[in-house]
Structures are given as C-alpha cells and as structure tokens.
C-alpha cells in the first residue's frame, strides 16, 4: 500500500515539476523574438538540454549598422604640396613593349613600398594603337606598314619626401629600360576625369536642361 501511495505522490510531484518547468521554459522562449534572431525558429530546440544555447554570442556583441549598398566611386582627395613633401604625383611609364612597361611599373611600385613612399593608386590607361602608313615612291596610295601599340601605366604617389626625391628620381632614371618613356607630373582632376568613358546621352540631356 505504501509504495502505491508513494508512486502516486511521486507522480504528482513530477507533474508539478513538469508544469513549473514548462512555465519557466515558456517565459524563456518568449524572450527570443524580442532578441530578433529568426534562426531560432528554424532550428530544433532541445530546450531540455542544459547546454541549450551554449554557443550564442551574437547577443553579446555591439549592434552593427545594416550593410549599405556600395556607393558610387568618389575621387580621392588630391593632396597639395607642403614645404617638406610633394603633393599627389603621377609617374607615367609608357612604351611600345608591354613586357618592359609592366615590369618597370612593377619595379617602381616595389621600390616605393621599400622606401616608404605611399602609393595611392596604380592603374593602366587604355592602349593606343598607331598605324604607320608608308607611301611608296611610285604611286600615291599609302598602305599600312605596321601597327604600333603604346601601353601606359601610372603609379600614383601621395607623400614623397623632398629629401628622398632626388635619390628616388635618380634610381628611377638609371634603371629606365630601353624604349620606355618616364614622366612625372602633378595629379589633376582632369587626369582623373579622363579615365572615365564619355556618356553622350547624359551630356545630351544635360545640354537640353540648360
């Protein structure tokens, strides 16, 4: 008789505990939607396990702003020259042999990295094709003799120290390969705009507006 009563009381106790547990868990699960993590609705929740939610850390991190779409490219600020440093300089390497041009521009870039000169940008301008036409002695019609392609690479330096400049230029000039033209100029906005393609429809509409 006693064990039966004990079992009944035990069953009652367990039921009470279960209900209490359910209430507790329900209160915990209500908090989840407030935290705003939708993943939990998809996952299976082993809530009875003591290790439930053991790996959660996102709620501890500071709130991140939502990721913006990539903005339209703006021009980098053109730095002006101060007393000790030059402004934004464009080192232009151009020539007919693409291998030499590319290798030389890579050499300049690596040299700047080594010497601590900041390289703002390093880009290539479109290749220009030149047709060489030959006029024979007899006859007037010119015919195409050869097509020469001029390749250009630009390395943009931002803070070239005035004390470093003579040494830097000398190393560049002494290592210049054959057939390559080197030119160092100040970077202007016109240079930047020249890289973009012309948009005739937009220009037509703007002209119509004004």
């Amino acid at each position: 008789m006693n064990p039966v009563i004990r079992k009944a009381s035990f069953a009652l106790h367990s039921r009470v505990l279960d209900q209490a547990g359910l209430l507790f868990r329900a209160s915990v699960s209500v908090q989840h939607p407030i935290q705003g993590s939708l993943a939990f609705s998809n996952e299976r929740q082993y809530r009875t396990m003591p290790t439930h939610g053991i790996g959660k850390y996102k709620h501890l991190l500071p709130k991140e702003a939502p990721k913006k779409k990539k903005e339209r490219q703006q021009m980098k600020q053109i730095k002006t020259a101060t007393d000790a440093e030059y402004g934004t300089l464009n080192v232009k390497v151009s020539g007919y042999d693409m291998i030499l041009v590319e290798h030389y521009s890579q050499y300049i870039h690596n040299l700047c990295n080594r010497l601590g000169v900041k390289v703002a940008e390093s880009y290539a301008l479109p290749t220009k094709s030149t047709e060489v036409m030959v006029m024979p002695e007899q006859g007037t019609k010119m015919y195409v003799d050869a097509i020469l392609k001029t390749h250009e690479r630009i390395v943009q330096l931002s803070q070239l120290n005035a004390t470093l400049c003579p040494t830097f230029m000398e190393v560049l000039l002494k290592n210049q390969p054959e057939g390559i033209q080197l030119s160092v100029k100040l970077h202007t906005e016109a240079d930047y705009q020249a890289r973009f393609k012309a948009r005739p429809e937009l220009e037509g509409l703007m002209a119509q507006m004004t």
Binding site: A81, S94, C165, L173, E178, G179, I180
Partner: protein, 292 residues
C-alpha cells in the same frame, strides 16, 4: 608615339614636372620649380637673424651626370641565362595572331592543291581572298631588316679623349673640372661660393653656368643636397672669420650641352674618379654617386 609632353603651369605651390626621354644625346629635360612666397620669406628672415657669421665658407657644387645612352653589355653568365629564359618562354608560349595566320594560309594552300578542291566552298567560307598572305609579309619584313644598318656600339674605338661627352655610352659619367682652390689647381666637381640671399641650389646652378665655354643644360632633381664635404684651411690662411669651407653637393642630369675640347673638362666613370680626386674629397663624393 608618345611624344615628350611637358606641361608648364604657374602655381604658387611646389611643382615638380620633368620628362626625360632616352633618344641618343638629345635629352629634352624641362624642369620648372617655383618657390611659394611663404617659403621665400622664411629663408630671408632666417638669414637676417644670423647676425654673427659662421666661420665656415659655404660653397655649392653640382654633380652633373650624363646618363647612359645604350644598354650595358652583358656578362657571359647573364648572356647564358637570358638565352635560357628566352628559350623557356618560347616553348611555353601560345601562337600569336601572325603565326596562326601563317598556319591557316599554308593549310589553305595544301587544300587548294588537293584533287578534290572546291573553290566555291572555300570562297564562301572566307569571303574575298586576301591578296597578301602572311608569308609574303614576313618575306618583305625580312628584306627591310637586311637594309637596316645599326650604328656601332662603341664609337670610341680609336679612343676618344676623356673630355668628350660621348665617351662610354653604356655607363653614366660625371663631370669634373679643373679649378684653382687656394694655391693649387685640382680636379673637382664644379662649385661656386655662396652669396647671401640665394639658396644653395642657385649657387650650384651658378657654378655650372659660370663654367667658361661650356653650355650645359642640366636638370636639377631637388632642393636637397646629396652630400657635404667639410675641410679646414691650412693654418696660415685661417683667420678669425673663416676657419674652413663646407661644400654642398647637388645632383643634376645633363639634358643638352656641348663643350669645346680645349677647356679642361673630364667625363669620368665612378671607377675612374680615383685617379683624379684627392682621397678625403673622393671619400665623400663616392658616397652619393650611384654605380648603377
């Protein structure tokens, strides 16, 4: 062809525009620099506050270099390596447009000469026949190459004098002049004494321009000197106000110029400097002349 374009704009900021082109001795280096008004005022005030003159005389000297005109000759090892690399690249490379055209043309020729040649089919595929095949072009190019006569590498086969600018075309040369310093005439880099109110770089330019019968157009690379040589006068010459002299060297590259052979000029390589300069002077000068 990319022509040397030199943009000259006048702005009150630092500007550095240079364009050097390797075409024989016709170096066209154009350079323009303009000091900002603030910088000029700063230098003036600095010179005024120095009421007490320092006991050192200041000189500005210029290290004028002529860049090599042709490429240097290769070592035997460099030769072998270059050949090896060339062969490796050739074996790894793909066919170019011209080579593909050659192959297509030769295939077409073999197909034409075959028995079951259908000219209508061929022409439908290729449109109009090209009058010049790739092989013909190659032959004409080879003919032109035979007509081309390259100039001699070494113009000084007979031994040009040391004063000639066209001496060793594969190396960079430094200009030396003979000047009287103190009591003796010695070989040194052209220099001039500093006068108040001018920058040291202007002193160096003046030293270069004041060389008699010489017309060198130089491009200075910057305002900063590349080296200093300090020496004390011998005891009998020393007075209270001048104990010795300091020579500041500036680097410049030759863009155009000529000199008569009579004047004592020397264009020497770095290795030959030893024979002309005094040891303490040479020690300082050696430090900033690059042997590239």
């Amino acid at each position: 062809m990319a022509a040397p374009c030199s943009r000259m704009a006048n702005r009150p900021l630092w500007q550095f525009i240079t364009n050097v082109r390797r075409t024989g001795l016709k170096h066209t280096g154009v350079r323009q620099i303009s000091l900002s008004s603030a910088c000029r005022a700063a230098t003036q005030t600095r010179s005024k506050t120095e009421g007490v003159a320092s006991p050192w005389k200041l000189y500005g000297a210029v290290c004028l270099q002529r860049l090599p005109v042709i490429s240097q000759e290769r070592n035997p090892i460099e030769d072998q390596f270059a050949e090896l690399m060339h062969q490796m690249e050739l074996e790894r490379s793909l066919l170019s447009d011209h080579e593909q055209r050659l192959l297509e043309d030769s295939e077409r020729m073999t197909r034409k000469q075959a028995d079951n040649y259908d000219s209508d089919e061929e022409e439908a595929d290729y449109g109009g026949q090209e009058t010049i095949t790739a092989q013909d072009q190659e032959d004409s190019w080879e003919q032109k190459l035979k007509h081309f006569q390259p100039a001699l590498r070494d113009r000084d086969v007979g031994g040009t004098p040391l004063g000639s600018v066209e001496r060793c075309l594969g190396d960079s040369l430094v200009l030396l002049v003979q000047q009287t310093v103190g009591k003796e005439t010695i070989w040194l880099l052209p220099q001039a004494q500093w006068e108040a109110g001018e920058t040291l770089r202007q002193t160096a330019e003046r030293g270069l321009n004041s060389l008699p019968e010489a017309d060198f157009k130089a491009t200075f690379l910057g305002n900063t000197p590349c080296g200093v040589y300090r020496y004390k006068f011998p005891k009998e010459v020393q007075t209270e106000c001048c104990v010795g002299a300091k020579v500041f060297f500036f680097k410049a590259f030759l863009s155009a110029g000529s000199a008569s052979q009579k004047e004592p000029f020397l264009w020497v390589k770095k290795t030959e400097l030893q024979g002309y300069l005094k040891p303490p002077y040479l020690e300082k000068v050696d430090r900033f002349i690059l042997n590239l």
